[in-house]
Every structure is written in C-alpha cells, then in structure tokens.
C-alpha cells in the first residue's frame, strides 16, 4: 500500500481556468499544406507539455508543430473536489512547469505540498518515510492530472507555431526508410500529414513504438492499482492520495464496497499486522542491534499510521499495473517520450516525472540541433537524448521494481527481506537522500 500524506493549499480557490478554442495560426489557413516540422502523437500530460515547451523554445520559433490527440477537446473547470487522478510533481518537473509559465495557473487553482511521503508495509511494522518535515524544501507537490493539462493548455493556446487537433486518432504511422526523409501519419478521418520528426507521446500502448519495431521489455504484475482520495482524521484539511496495489479480485471487491466499508478496509490494512511472524520479529530486532553496532542512527521512534476518517465521494478507481521499457527511445525520424518509452509501478509516484525529465532533455537537445544548423532528425543529436535519459530512467525503474518486489510476496523469507530492507533505508539517511536525489532529477 502506498499512501501520500499531503497538506492541501488553497483547496477551493475561486479562479477557474477556462479553455477557448485554439485559434488557428497563420500557416494553417492554407488548405493542402500538410507538412509540419514536428508532429506530436498523443496529447496526454506529456504530449501537451512537450508541445508547449518546444513551442516556447526561441531556437525552435520557426518550426511548425502539430499536436494530435484522439480525445475530444474538453472545456475544463475546477471541480469542487479533488479528483482521484493526481501526480506528485518533483522539483525538476516544478522547474519545467515554471519555465513555460504553467505553474502560475496551477498555483492560482490548487495544489498540495507533500511534507511527508510514507509507505507502510502491511506485513510488518516497518515504515519508510521520505522528506524531512523541518526542511524548507518540499519533496514534491501534488497536482490533479486534469488541472495540470488545463494549465499547460492555457499557455499552449497562445502559441502561433503550435497547432492542436483534437478528436484526431492516428490509425497509421509510416516511418522513413533509408532513402526517405520524412515520417507520415494517417488519421481516422483519412487525412494524412508528414513531418521531419515524429514524437511518440501516445502512452503505454504506444502505436508509434510498435511502428518503430523496437524491442520492448514488458510484464504485467497481475495487479491493479486502486486509487482514492482520503480524508485524515487528525487534520481537517488534510487530504491524502492512495494507491493500493492488490490482486484484480481484491480490487474488484474494494470497488464494490460502500464508501464506509472501503474506509474500514484501508484502516484495517494499515493497522493490522497480518502475516507477522516470529521469524520477521527476530530478524528485525537483530538488524536493529546490528545498526546500533555500526553506529547508524537507529529508528526507535516509529510513525504511527494515521486514521482515515472518510473517502472523497466517487474518487475510487482501479488501473492495471505493469512494467515496460523500450530498448531504444529513438529511430530514424522518430522519438519516444513519456509512458510510450517507459512505464513503472506507481509505488514511488515517479512515473510522470520521468516523462517530464524526457521533455526537459529533448527540448535542450533539439535546441542544440537547430543551433548547429542540423536537421531535427539528426541522429547523432537524438542519440544524446536517448543516452542521457536511459542513464537516468533505467536505474530509477529498477529501484522502483526492486521496491515493488520487496512488498509483494507473502512468502516468509521475502517478507523478512522486506522488513530488513525497509528498515535499512530508513536508518541509513545518506542512502535515503540518494533515493530522494535520484527522484528529484
């Protein structure tokens, strides 16, 4: 179970972001002009932010960008209640959103500062806590997915060099062969567009990735992530966001329960020490002594888990969880960004931050490419993006994967490892700092 304690800020702010129709830019009035410098396939959090970031890069000001999103254009208004789809924004992502001016729209609405990020192990009494409450630097911010997209869209619609097309589902991708120099896409309405560089931001089941025929390492956990927004009893304005990974059957049960029953189930899971055995206890104690001998600060004061008072109405949902890694992020005339390139367990809440890190890097690399007079699809520049991002993403993915494996076995020796592992991370603060540092970049 994964629980984020957050303190909400300006929870019901008055100002509302509204969206008007994207105004057509000066190039697009001419019919038949269907070539773009860059086409971005998929307008989720990553595709939308990428379009806005590239559109605002002064070195790319002469480039024409098209963003294609299968979904309908939605008018957005701040809902009364926190929605259950939220992401934690790390300092790197915060900086990116600030640089494109989107953060101010989020600030004017609502977000939460995460003071503490705690993970409870339901099997033993070990817990892991990130973030020092006395430190002025916040570990991360919690923002609703829809608010984030609306905030970025607010900036995006002011850009003349980016055209956004909704209800535009791509049915076919054609990537350039050896002698060709452009990629093309066909939409379900029959229209085709070509471009120098195609950016695949079309999520976990990326069709762009399939067209690249790149090796993709993937597995399903046979688990569902049950998400919900909860109210804590200790602090009245304290909301918390829950991701509970569990079996598909149990997830179904959790969704069917009444809201009161669900609150009981969460409290039970946090407080009840099922599966606790003598072996685990003994090993934990031994490990504690070992830490003291090594002069490591021992973790004697344990955080008591909070009591959940109620659940925000209608905030429950379940999603399948999986792992995925594209061996290559780039190909001739094409780049993968965000979940299309990598997918991790939401355990540490880092999924989308990896994607935002991709955006920062790709924006810099494409700027350098243009600044050296090279074409956007120059592979030796794009390779820099792939190398830099894989060097960061792969260790993060493996660390989260390791954490997940630690949590997900009821087999005693593994349970035991889990308790020891967690306690070690808690006590050895340099290691914990290293994890936070890795998560922040």
């Amino acid at each position: 179970m994964f629980l984020i304690i957050l303190k909400s800020k300006s929870p019901f702010a008055k100002s509302i972001i509204t969206r008007t129709c994207t105004k057509p830019g000066r190039w697009y009035s001419t019919t038949g002009n269907k070539h773009y410098d860059i086409i971005i396939a998929g307008g989720g959090m990553i595709g939308t932010t990428l379009a806005c970031t590239l559109g605002k890069n002064p070195l790319l000001q002469n480039k024409r960008i098209l963003l294609l999103e299968a979904g309908k254009e939605k008018a957005w208004a701040l809902p009364d209640k926190y929605t259950n789809r939220v992401v934690s924004i790390n300092p790197g992502t915060h900086k990116l959103l600030n640089s494109i001016n989107a953060w101010k729209h989020i600030e004017n609405n609502r977000f939460a500062i995460v003071k503490r990020l705690q993970v409870w192990d339901a099997v033993s009494d070990a817990s892991i806590t990130f973030g020092d409450q006395t430190s002025p630097e916040d570990v991360s911010y919690i923002v609703e997915n829809d608010l984030l997209i609306a905030a970025v869209n607010n900036e995006l619609k002011q850009l003349d060099n980016v055209k956004v097309q909704y209800s535009a589902k791509v049915t076919d991708y054609h990537l350039p062969e050896y002698h060709e120099s452009s990629s093309s896409v066909r939409l379900d309405d029959g229209n085709t567009y070509s471009c120098e560089l195609l950016l695949g931001c079309d999520g976990v089941n990326s069709q762009v990735r399939k067209a690249m025929k790149v090796n993709y390492l993937t597995w399903n956990y046979d688990q569902m992530g049950v998400v919900a927004t909860l109210n804590l009893s200790e602090l009245t304005d304290s909301l918390s966001s829950l991701v509970w990974s569990t079996t598909p059957d149990h997830a179904k049960e959790l969704l069917k329960m009444t809201e009161d029953q669900f609150v009981d189930a969460v409290n039970n899971a946090i407080w009840k020490n099922y599966g606790r055995s003598l072996v685990v206890d003994q090993a934990t104690k031994t490990f504690d002594t070992l830490l003291r001998l090594m002069n490591c600060p021992s973790d004697t004061v344990r955080q008591f888990p909070p009591k959940i008072a109620k659940i925000e109405e209608g905030s429950r949902a379940a999603f399948p969880l999986g792992f995925g890694h594209a061996v290559n992020y780039i190909g001739k005339g094409v780049v993968l960004v965000g979940d299309a390139a990598h997918r991790i367990h939401p355990l540490a809440g880092q999924g989308v931050n990896l994607g935002f890190g991709d955006i920062t890097c790709l924006n810099r690399v494409l700027g350098n490419t243009v600044h050296s007079g090279s074409k956007l699809d120059n592979l030796s520049y794009l390779k820099e993006y792939e190398t830099e991002r894989q060097r960061h993403n792969i260790p993060t993915m493996l660390a989260v994967e390791g954490l997940h494996r630690l949590y997900n076995s009821d087999f005693t020796p593994l349970v035991l490892l889990r308790s020891l592992g967690l306690q070690a991370t808690h006590a050895l603060s340099p290691l914990k700092n290293a994890i936070i540092h890795q998560a922040a970049t």
Binding site: Y178, H179, H371, S372
Partner: protein, 268 residues
C-alpha cells in the same frame, strides 16, 4: 579527410550526362545512390557529418566573438543572417547546408564539378539556396577580393601542395576583420601513424593514397603563413576522433587533428 576518396568514386562515373539532361536510367540510379551515400549520416562520409557538431559551433561562436554576429542574436535560429560565408572545397555540401540553415549567405566552391553537381541537387531537394560554383580558390579570388565575412577551409588543406598560394587566395577573399576557419591534420609522427598507417594500411578505413604525409602541416607553420598574410590567430584547438563511436571531441592536444580561427587585420 575523405573528400578525395569520394571524388574518386564519383569520377568513375561521369555525371555530366545526367545533369545535361541525357536520359540514362542507370546513370540516374547511380547518381542517386552516390547522393544517398554521401548524405548518409552513417555512410562513408560519417566522420565529416559528425565533425559538424564541432565545426558549426566553432564558426558560429567564432563569428560571435569576432563581433560579426550580434550577441543578442544568439538565441535566434537564424543566427548567421546577413553573414556571407565561403566554403572552400565544399564537396557535397555537408558543411555548407547547416550554415545556410542558420541563415548564412553561403557560397561553396570545389574544383571537382561532379561533386558540385551532387551538392546542387541535394540543396535543391532540401530547398536550400546555396551558391555552388565549380572553381579553384585562386580563380575565385581573382574577382572576389574583400568579399566575405568568413572563409572556411575545412579538411582540404591537407590535400593542397601549394599551401602559401592557397591560403593567400583564401585571405584575399576575406573582408578586413573577416574570419578564417581551418580544420586540418598536423604533421606529426602520430598523425602519420593514425591517419596513414592505421587508417589506410591496417584498418582500411580510407583507400590507400588518400593522404600524403608531406602535405600535412604543423600549426606553427600554418600560423606563420597566416601572419605573413596579415592575419591574427585567435585560437587553435585540438580535435579527437573516436572511430568506435564516430564522435569528435575538443582537446588540448593538437598533434593529430586541429582547428584554427584567424582574423584578417585591417590593411596596415
């Protein structure tokens, strides 16, 4: 470094008939194949493609430091707008094209008319305006005195016998205060070993006879010639080529490949 190799490839087939409009399918196919190979980032010309990562910023920043480019323009994609550049020994245009994309007004000359045809057709495909001329630098200089903001002689000097004459002609084309950019190979044991013994005889990266050791030139010798022609050397950087990753790096060691930026002084 590879220019003579490819020129030789091209000489095997006379391309004049293609450009003259004679319809000969086989010739056209060969021409397209050469065009594709020349422009393949990972083809036989790959060291020249990857060298752009060093030499384009060298030229861009060199012109900025020499105040030919306004520093406020640095964030502008057309940073070389209004600057006239002459690429001497332009080959198929691997360096000329990025300079045009940066807004530069580029003239490319090459003594080999076949490569000029190749360069022209590639620029046309890419819708780039480049003034390509089949000419020697000496001929070009005779009617282009004090004409260019920058003259570039990249990977050509090591194939020239009469260096003084060649450089004199390059400098003649430059406006006073204009910038001369050169990349070439040093005359050292190491350059001889890596370039000729390893490159041509052992690894067969280049055809035998591509380079002749006598034609390599030491940076001090080059500087001396430039000084004699009223030019001040601004910088000399070593360049290192990693053949396994096909990447170039700047380094302090100038014993193999090096780059030089000099400025033509006002008339004394």
């Amino acid at each position: 470094m590879l220019k003579p190799f490819c020129s030789r490839l091209l000489k095997i087939r006379s391309l004049a008939s293609v450009t003259a409009g004679t319809i000969d399918n086989q010739e056209v196919q060969h021409f397209e194949k050469f065009l594709a190979e020349w422009w393949d980032e990972f083809g036989p010309m790959k060291p020249l493609h990857s060298m752009n990562k060093l030499r384009v910023p060298l030229i861009r920043n060199g012109l900025l430091n020499a105040a030919a480019v306004n520093s406020e323009e640095m964030k502008n994609p057309l940073v070389l707008k209004g600057i006239s550049l002459l690429d001497v020994g332009c080959g198929g245009g691997i360096l000329a094209e990025p300079l045009v994309r940066l807004g530069g007004n580029v003239t490319g000359i090459d003594a080999n008319s076949n490569t000029i045809d190749l360069a022209k057709s590639h620029a046309k495909i890419n819708k780039l305006e480049i003034n390509y001329i089949a000419s020697s630098i000496e001929d070009h200089a005779s009617n282009h005195t004090d004409s260019y903001d920058a003259v570039i002689a990249s990977e050509i000097l090591e194939h020239v016998s009469k260096k003084e004459q060649f450089l004199e002609a390059c400098i003649k084309c430059l406006k006073p205060q204009g910038s001369l950019f050169i990349t070439t190979i040093n005359k050292t044991f190491l350059a001889n070993f890596l370039g000729i013994v390893m490159g041509e005889n052992i690894l067969n990266l280049l055809p035998k006879g591509t380079h002749q050791y006598e034609k390599f030139i030491q940076p001090v010798k080059l500087q001396r010639i430039l000084e004699d022609n009223n030019c001040r050397t601004e910088l000399i950087h070593g360049m290192f080529y990693n053949i396994f990753t096909n990447t170039w790096h700047w380094c302090t060691d100038t014993s193999v490949n090096y780059a030089l930026h000099a400025i033509k002084l006002k008339k004394p």
